[in-house]
């Protein structure tokens, strides 16, 4: 039995402790926005936040987690799709197939938490998600637009 805190809710999951968080999210909790692609922590499609930090959920056994750690998935990033990144992604039509985008958005959201106005070099060094459609240039523009949206929201 694993006890977790996901998107602000406490959940008890009856699962083998070695099961990666990704599969608990997808198969026990029905949170399929977090994607499987490589299973070895490289591509970032499975990115979630653990206490606000980006984490690749496909290589994290649930037994290593507890309810004090707040896990956020794409479904919990905003209530209504209004996170500045979601607004920016919509404005620029960033996704193509869209499969990597939940992970991409979660990686960028974590970056923005610690670095609210990242330079291109910051983006290059922190965003290592794979997108096989090649949306990277719109992803980059989307990050800068999200920063603008956030600034407008604060002013």
């Amino acid at each position: 039995m694993a006890k977790l805190s996901i998107n602000g809710k406490r959940v008890d999951v009856d699962v083998d402790g070695s099961t990666p968080l990704l599969w608990v999210l997808r198969e026990q909790l029905g949170l399929t926005g977090t994607k499987y692609s490589c299973g070895i922590g490289i591509c970032g499609a499975c990115t979630v936040h653990i206490d606000g930090t980006a984490a690749r959920s496909c290589i994290i056994p649930v037994s290593s987690l507890n309810t004090k750690q707040e896990i956020t998935t794409i479904e919990g990033l905003s209530v209504d799709g209004s996170h500045p990144l979601q607004q920016a992604w919509l404005e620029l039509d960033v996704p193509q197939c869209g499969y990597c985008q939940p992970g991409m958005i979660m990686s960028v959201a974590a970056l923005l938490k610690g670095n609210p106005d990242p330079s291109d070099a910051d983006i290059d060094s922190s965003i290592t998600n794979i997108c096989r459609c090649g949306t990277f240039n719109r992803v980059r523009r989307g990050i800068h637009l999200a920063v603008d949206i956030s600034k407008r929201g604060r002013s």
């Binding site: 692609s37 070895i40 490289i42 794409i74 979601q86 869209g98 939940p102 983006i123 990277f136």
Partner: protein, 730 residues
């Protein structure tokens, strides 16, 4: 006039996946299938279709049916634009739906081909989908005129509102749709003149973005059906090998395991409550394989096979002008080079998957597919049932790139597993490792290029001998022409969608077909990926041998190819070819006609003293004839550079012991955001034809960069990917 009502039943259901212990609920709209629909209490829309392409709800929602698959390339939105342009409907009320392949079968393929490949989505169906929209419009207007008792000619329409011009009375499509559905469509209808287009040509937002930002978009891998089990699979890693045995007793007691089954003659699958349980048990399952005849095939043995083809006496001829061999004997300067291009995996982000439900008299499949009709055929064959007793529901694709079009091995497997568990839906999901090792790879070829110049540096003769794999021979042998695979000559042909961009006085293009036992497939760009490298890099080699500027050398050969010349000139001008590049930055050019579109690129790169390549900027031009959605064309052009340059930098599947050596993204890397160049896209539709978008640009990505690398380093790289080469200056 009225007709007998034809209506298809649309099945769309809210499936509530109430989650274990957590109280989360995801509402997923997915087609549930007839067997399960009964149980779920199907509710189908009351609105009848106006015609096969258009359904209008009483509240003025416009549903446009799309037969081709959306896999990221934007065709869903583009096709809807084409229908809506003629329909004159309110774009803000448009949504789309996929008819099923089974419905297509029962209605004599009323939606035409479902195949989504070869950059055909729009160029292959623009005529009939626009006609569908136009006919629906005429029927809707006629229904309003009938209702008012006025001549149809007195009525006009804009944004779903029909107006009787003399009286100013109005009604909406939603109010007359039911009556329109009973009209007999006009026999003929004229399509709009392109100058009158209002939606086509506009950079309209995609219709399918919102759900991709919140995790709500359901891909095949995400599908959940009531009572569904999950399967993980392992096929013999050696191509052509078979399953010898497995010891199911070793894992049958592991948590969640429900069954361990042989799949076809070459694979074994574990079925369990969850996929993770299935995968865990599969990893622990002892399996033995009959490796078969290919157990000793290696990259080296394949290279030897291809080398022999480079000089073999017999070869198929794809293009012949004058007498190239004789001309080459007489030239003042002869240039020779041999290029080689490796196997590559599509590596869609979403691994292969399909969900199947088999009963003795019906089989249903839910899957991401580029060709629903082919998926239906595969399902029927594996199910042992006629196609009329099968159905396929297309689920959104997490990438396609050709992997999910001609090949439905994942459907065959899913049905084969489901058939062993009648009445239970089973979702089969491949691991990344399985996906990497059981692809249908970009074909492997080599090319020997020989060119001859006269004393003034003019190109007198060109002989191209390609040796290597034929996709058609493996995938669609009925498509061979007297044994020749004409798509092996893409962008080197005398005319057509893949015509050569140059006029060469003496030209010979040949293909010595050599088919190693590694399954080839259509891979975004098909054969232009390597052929354009061969052609465009070698033209660059010839230009340098002639002591000429690569742009001027090309221009001289392109007088008879004005559209190709126009895109080349456009990139040269935008990139500032005539002016020096910034210090340390070098430029390269490439041009190509592919999938009926004209494309060109100028790349700007630098290579530092350690051999580190930076691709700073790409200027790309595309003339697709008509540009349906320019902002989506830009996205496809950018994506093509990503895919083409990832292939150039990293893409390589090597063979050892009859198997692909690469397993996952650690040894089959992809370009990351840090490596992605700026891409400036010039969309320059010249009108009068319909060219493809998703693939053509990939042709120029690699050669433009390679030519720039030569300019920077003096090194001609002729074997790929670049990760294997030291780029430090020669």
């Amino acid at each position: 006039m009225k007709k007998e009502q034809v209506n298809i039943s649309r099945r769309e259901f809210l499936i509530s996946t109430t989650t274990v212990g957590a109280g989360f609920a995801l509402g997923l709209y997915i087609p549930l299938g007839s067997s399960l629909a009964m149980a779920a209490g199907e509710t189908s829309s009351a609105a009848p279709e106006v015609n096969a392409w258009v359904v209008i709800e009483p509240d003025d929602t416009v549903i446009i049916r799309i037969a081709r698959s959306e896999m990221g390339q934007g065709t869903l939105t583009g096709l809807a634009q084409l229908v809506a342009e003629e329909l004159e409907c309110d774009w803000s009320r448009v949504r789309t739906e996929y008819p099923t392949p089974g419905q297509s079968l029962s209605r004599k393929r009323i939606w035409g081909s479902f195949s989504t490949g070869g950059s055909h989505g729009i160029r292959g169906s623009h005529q009939y989908v626009r006609k569908g929209g136009a006919l629906a419009r005429e029927m809707l207007i006629e229904a309003a005129a009938d209702k008012w008792g006025v001549p149809k000619a007195e009525c006009s329409v804009a944004a779903s509102v029909i107006t009787h011009k003399p009286t100013g009375r109005t009604t909406t499509y939603g109010k007359v749709a039911a009556a329109a559905a009973e009209m007999i469509p006009p026999f003929e209808v004229e399509l709009k003149d392109p100058k009158d287009w209002k939606l086509i040509g506009k950079p309209i937002k995609r219709l399918d973005t919102v759900d991709k930002l919140t995790g709500k978009q359901i891909f095949g891998a995400d599908l959940q059906l009531p009572g569904m089990l999950n399967a993980a699979i392992k096929a013999c890693p050696v191509f052509g090998g078979t399953l010898a045995s497995f010891d199911g007793a070793k894992v049958s007691k592991l948590p969640g395991v429900r069954a361990i089954v042989a799949v076809e003659d070459n694979a074994v699958a574990v079925v369990a409550d969850t996929w993770w349980q299935a995968k865990t048990a599969l990893d622990a399952l002892p399996v033995t394989w009959n490796k078969g005849a290919n157990a000793n095939v290696s990259s080296a043995s394949i290279a030897k096979m291809l080398d022999e083809g480079l000089t073999a006496k017999q070869a198929f001829v794809g293009n012949q002008v004058g007498d190239a061999k004789a001309a080459l004997k007489d030239t003042v300067k002869k240039v020779e080079a041999t290029y080689a291009y490796p196997f590559q995996n599509h590596a869609t982000m979403e691994p292969m998957n399909a969900t199947a439900l088999w009963n003795k008299d019906r089989c249903e499949v839910w899957c991401p597919t580029q060709n629903g009709e082919a998926a239906l055929e595969a399902a029927a064959e594996a199910a042992g049932l006629p196609p009329s007793q099968c159905e396929v529901y297309k689920i959104h694709l997490g990438g396609g790139f050709g992997r999910r079009g001609a090949f439905h091995d994942f459907v065959t497997q899913a049905v084969s597993i489901a058939k062993q568990m009648p009445g239970t839906p089973v979702k089969l999901l491949w691991t990344r490792e399985e996906d990497m090792q059981h692809g249908h790879y970009h074909p492997i070829t080599k090319a020997k290029m020989v060119g001859g110049l006269d004393d003034k540096g003019n190109l007198l003769g060109l002989h191209i001998r390609i040796s290597g794999q034929s996709i058609l021979a493996s995938v669609r042998p009925e498509g061979l022409q007297n044994g020749a695979d004409m798509i092996a000559f893409q962008c080197m042909l005398p005319g057509g969608d893949h015509a050569i961009s140059y006029t060469v006085p003496n030209l010979l293009v040949e293909h010595a077909m050599r088919n190693p036992p590694v399954p080839p497939g259509f891979w975004r760009g098909v054969n232009i990926n390597q052929n354009a490298i061969y052609m465009e890099c070698f033209i660059d080699e010839l230009a340098h041998a002639a002591g000429k500027d690569p742009l001027e050398f090309r221009r001289k050969l392109m007088a008879g190819h004005p559209k190709s010349l126009a895109v080349l000139n456009a990139v040269a001008e935008r990139a500032g070819w005539s002016k020096p590049a910034p210090k340390g930055v070098y430029r390269g050019l490439a041009v190509c006609k592919a999938f009926a579109s004209y494309v060109a690129a100028c790349a700007e790169v630098s290579v530092d003293n350690n051999g580190k390549l930076t691709i700073h900027r790409i200027v790309a031009a595309t003339d697709p004839g008509y540009a349906v959605n320019p902002q989506q064309i830009e996205a496809q052009v950018e994506g093509s550079f990503f895919y083409g340059l990832s292939a150039l930098l990293y893409g390589e599947c090597t063979i050892k012991g009859g198997s692909v050596e690469q397993q996952n993204f650690h040894n089959y890397p992809s370009m990351l955001i840090a490596e992605m160049p700026k891409v400036e896209v010039i969309v320059m539709p010249s009108g009068g034809f319909w060219g493809g978008i998703g693939e053509p640009t990939i042709a120029v990505a690699a050669p433009a960069v390679l030519n720039a690398i030569f300019a920077a380093t003096g090194k001609r790289i002729r074997e790929f990917p670049l990760k294997n080469t030291d780029l430090r200056s020669a």
